[in-house]
C-alpha cells in the first residue's frame, strides 16, 4: 500500500509542479465557462436579440409570441415590419421573425406560416428557427382541436380556440409531482457552461495525465520500476489513483470557483461526488485506452483531442442537446458526455438526488469498464 501511495503522491506532485497544469485545470475552464455562459445565459451580458413581427394579430399568433418570449436564450422584441427592418439595418437585432397573416390556416395546410430573416453571418439561425417551430407546434394542437370543435359545434375555430386556451391552466393540474424526480427543466447559461466546460477540461486534463504512462514507458521508467520489488498492480493502481485524485481536485476547485464567481448551484454534494467519480473513472479509462493504442505522447494528444472535442460536441457540452436533430441525439447516447451532462442537469436544474442520476451513473460506469478493459488488456509495460 505504501508503494501505491508513493507512486500516486509522486505523480500528483509532478502534475502540480507544471504551471501548464494549473492553466489547463482551472484557467481555461473558467474562461470558457464565462465566455459561453455569457452567450447562452439568462444572466448574460451578451444575448441574441431578434425582432418579432406579428402580421397575423390573432389569439393564435399572440400565443406563439408568448411562448417565444418565455425563452431564456434569445431575447425577442415585438415590433412592426418597418421598425424590424430598421433595427436589422442598425445591427441592433440579429434577425427578424415574421408571423405571417393566415398563420393558422397555413399551418393546417402544411405551408410555412413564418419567415426568418437572419443578419449576415448569423451562426445561430437554426436555433431561432427551431424555437419558432417548437412554439408553433405547441400551439398548433389547439388549432387542430379548435377546428374539429368548430365543425361539431358549428362555430368558428377562432372562438373555440379562445375557449380552449383560456382553460389551458387546468391541464397542468392533471399530473401531480410526488417525488423529487427530474422535471426536465433545461439548464441554462453559466450553469450549463460550468457543467459542460468542467467535463471538457477534466477530460483534457486526464488525457494529459494518462499521457504520462506513455512518457514513462518511453523514458524507460517503467522498465526500471519493474526491476524494483513493485508489482504491475501496484504501479497501475498508483497511477490510476493519482489520475482520479487530480480529477477530483480539478472538479472540486471548478465547483468552488463557479459557485463563488458565477453563483452556480451544483445540487446534492453526495450525488455530485458519485457522478464526478463515475465520470472520472470513465475519462481515465478512455485516456488509458487511447494511451494503449498509440506509441507516442504526440499521437495520444492528437487522437485524444480529436475524440474529446468531437464527442463533447455530440454530447451537448457546448450547447443544449435539444438543439440538435433527432439522429444526432440518438448518436449522442453513445458518448459519455451526454450522460454526464444529463446527470449534472438533473442535479443542477432539478435538484436531483442519487436515485435520480442512477441511469447516468450506470452508463458512465459501463463506459469506464469498457475503456479500462481495452486499455489494460493492450497496455505494454516494458
Amino acid at each position: 500500500m505504501k508503494k501505491i501511495l508513493s507512486i500516486c503522491l509522486f505523480e500528483i506532485k509532478r502534475t502540480f509542479k507544471k504551471k501548464s497544469s494549473i492553466v489547463l485545470m482551472l484557467g481555461m475552464p473558467l474562461l470558457f465557462t464565462f465566455l459561453f455562459g455569457s452567450i447562452f445565459g439568462k444572466n448574460a451580458d451578451i444575448t441574441f436579440r431578434i425582432a418579432l413581427v406579428d402580421e397575423e394579430q390573432t389569439a393564435f399568433s399572440k400565443d406563439v409570441i408568448q411562448k417565444l418570449m418565455m425563452d431564456e436564450m434569445i431575447s425577442y422584441e415585438l415590433v412592426n415590419a418597418l421598425e424590424a427592418e430598421e433595427l436589422l439595418a442598425r445591427n441592433e437585432v440579429q434577425g427578424i421573425v415574421t408571423l405571417e397573416k393566415g398563420i393558422a390556416t397555413k399551418l393546417r395546410n402544411e405551408k410555412p406560416p413564418a419567415t426568418f430573416q437572419p443578419s449576415l453571418g448569423m451562426s445561430t439561425a437554426p436555433l431561432v428557427i427551431q424555437q419558432v417551430n417548437q412554439a408553433m407546434q405547441a400551439v398548433d394542437i389547439y388549432v387542430a382541436a379548435s377546428q374539429v370543435g368548430g365543425f361539431y359545434f358549428n362555430e368558428s375555430w377562432e372562438s373555440v380556440y379562445g375557449r380552449i386556451t383560456e382553460n389551458e391552466g387546468r391541464i397542468q393540474a392533471w399530473t401531480e409531482q410526488k417525488t423529487n424526480a427530474p422535471t426536465g427543466h433545461p439548464m441554462m447559461g453559466i450553469s450549463y457552461s460550468s457543467a459542460g466546460f468542467s467535463i471538457m477540461f477534466v477530460m483534457i486534463m486526464m488525457l494529459s495525465m494518462t499521457g504520462t504512462l506513455i512518457e514513462a514507458r518511453q523514458a524507460g521508467i517503467w522498465s526500471r520500476l519493474f526491476t524494483t520489488p513493485v508489482t504491475r498492480f501496484q504501479v497501475l493502481l498508483g497511477y490510476f489513483l493519482s489520475f482520479l485524485i487530480v480529477g477530483w481536485i480539478q472538479f472540486f476547485l471548478l465547483i468552488l470557483l463557479s459557485s463563488t464567481l458565477f453563483d452556480v448551484n451544483w445540487g446534492s454534494p453526495a450525488a455530485l461526488l458519485l457522478l464526478v467519480t463515475a465520470l472520472l473513472l470513465c475519462v481515465v479509462g478512455l485516456g488509458i485506452a487511447i494511451a494503449s493504442l498509440v506509441k507516442t505522447v504526440d499521437q495520444q494528444h492528437a487522437i485524444g483531442t480529436l475524440v474529446i472535442i468531437s464527442t463533447c460536441m455530440l454530447g451537448g457540452v457546448y450547447w443544449p442537446i435539444s438543439m440538435v436533430p433527432d439522429v444526432m441525439r440518438k448518436i449522442a447516447n453513445f458518448v459519455p458526455q451526454t450522460w454526464a451532462m444529463e446527470g449534472l442537469t438533473t442535479l443542477i436544474a432539478d435538484s436531483g438526488t442519487i436515485g435520480d442520476i442512477f441511469m447516468p451513473l450506470i452508463v458512465l460506469l459501463g463506459f469506464a469498464v469498457i475503456f479500462l478493459f481495452i486499455g489494460l488488456s493492450r497496455m505494454k509495460y516494458v
Binding site: 507512486i7 509522486f10 509532478r14 524507460g220 526500471r224 526491476t227 520489488p229
Partner: protein
C-alpha cells in the same frame, strides 16, 4: 552471489540467448563485454526479473529469480542504459522516489538520498531539477537511484553511454570505490577499456553466446602473445598474406581492408623484420606499420573476426 546455468531466451523463433552459464562471487566486479546486439541487455533483464528466462536457471544469493522475484529484486540495484528519471523533478525527489520503491520510509529515503548525492558527487545540486543537469550528471543520478536501497549486487547496463570523459571517469572511479567497499558489480559495456579498468573477471558475449570468460590474466594468456602488427600497404597480394601466415611466431592474420592487415604475433619482435623482408620480396609497398599491445578488443577480434564496436 549470482549463478547462471544454461540460460536461454527466445523472442519468437529468434534465439537471442543461447545457453549461457557463469558465476559471480560476492564482492567481485564482473564485466560483460560484447558488441551491440550480443544479448547483454537481455541477459541483464532476465537477471533482474524484468523478463522471464526461457530455459535454464538464474539464482541470486541461491534464490531462483523466477520463484523469489521480490527477494531477488531487493538484493539487486539496476542502472539501466536509459536515464530513467523524472526530468521535471529534483534530484532529491527522484532519489527518494526510487528509494521508496525499494521499501524505504520517507525519513530513511531522505537520509539515504543525501548520502547517495554525496557518493555521486552532486550534493550541491540535490534541489535542482534533473532537466537542468548535464548528460554526465544525469547518468550519475541514474546510478545513485540504484544505490538508494544499498543493494548487494549492482548491475550496470552501459552506464556511460554518451557522456563527457570527465563524468565518465567520475563514474568509473565511483563504481570502483563501491566495489572496493564490498559491493558486487556486474558491468556491461562495449567499451573494453572501461571493463578492463573496473573488472577482475570478464565474460565476452557475441550473438547470444558466451565466447570466452575468465580473469583478465586468463584472457591475456589466450591472446596470441599480446602483440599485433598493424600494416597499411599499397595493395595486398594474396601470396604475401599466405607467406606471412607461414612465418614462425605468427598466430593469426586478419585482413581488415584491401590495404590493411593485422598480424597477431607471439611476442617475437624479430618477426617484424621477416614481414618487412617478405613485403619487399612480394612487391608490397608498406605505407605504415604499428606495433600494438593486444587487449580485449584484440581478443574479441581474434575469436570472432569482428570488432567490438561493429
Amino acid at each position: 552471489m549470482l549463478t547462471l546455468t544454461d540460460v536461454k531466451k527466445s523472442f519468437g523463433a529468434h534465439e537471442v540467448i543461447k545457453g549461457i552459464s557463469f558465476q559471480v562471487e560476492k564482492g567481485e566486479s564482473f564485466g560483460l563485454l560484447g558488441p551491440n546486439g550480443a544479448g547483454k541487455s537481455t541477459l541483464i533483464s532476465m537477471i533482474c526479473g524484468l523478463i522471464p528466462n526461457g530455459a535454464g536457471e538464474i539464482r541470486v544469493n541461491g534464490k531462483l529469480v523466477g520463484k523469489h522475484l521480490k527477494e531477488t529484486k531487493q538484493i539487486i540495484g539496476v542502472v539501466p542504459q536509459d536515464i530513467a528519471l523524472y526530468p521535471t523533478m529534483s534530484a532529491m525527489d527522484n532519489l527518494m522516489f526510487w528509494g521508496k520503491m525499494y521499501g524505504l520510509s520517507g525519513k530513511k529515503a531522505k537520509a539515504r538520498a543525501k548520502e547517495v548525492l554525496n557518493i555521486v558527487g552532486l550534493t550541491e545540486r540535490g534541489k535542482d531539477r534533473i532537466e537542468t543537469f548535464s548528460g554526465g550528471m544525469k547518468r550519475r543520478i541514474n546510478i545513485g537511484a540504484a544505490l538508494m536501497h544499498e543493494p548487494q549486487l549492482l548491475i550496470m547496463d552501459e552506464p556511460t553511454v554518451g557522456i563527457d570523459p570527465q563524468s565518465r571517469n567520475h563514474i568509473l572511479e565511483t563504481v570502483k570505490s563501491l566495489n572496493e567497499q564490498g559491493l558486487t558489480v556486474i558491468y556491461t559495456s562495449h567499451y573494453m577499456e572501461e571493463v578492463e579498468f573496473l573488472c577482475k573477471r570478464i565474460a565476452i558475449l557475441d550473438e547470444g553466446k558466451l565466447i570466452v570468460s575468465g580473469t583478465k590474466k586468463d584472457l591475456n594468456n589466450r591472446l596470441a602473445g599480446g602483440i599485433v602488427l598493424k600494416l597499411t600497404v599499397g595493395t595486398l597480394h594474396p601470396s604475401f598474406i599466405e607467406q606471412v601466415k607461414k612465418l614462425n611466431g605468427v598466430e593469426k592474420v586478419i585482413v581488415q581492408t584491401a590495404e590493411e592487415l593485422d598480424v597477431h604475433l607471439q611476442s617475437k619482435m624479430e618477426i617484424v623484420a621477416d614481414v618487412i623482408l617478405l613485403a619487399s620480396q612480394s612487391g608490397v609497398v608498406i605505407h605504415n606499420m604499428q606495433l600494438k599491445e593486444a587487449n580485449l578488443e584484440t581478443l574479441f577480434l581474434q575469436l570472432t573476426g569482428r570488432s567490438l564496436r561493429e
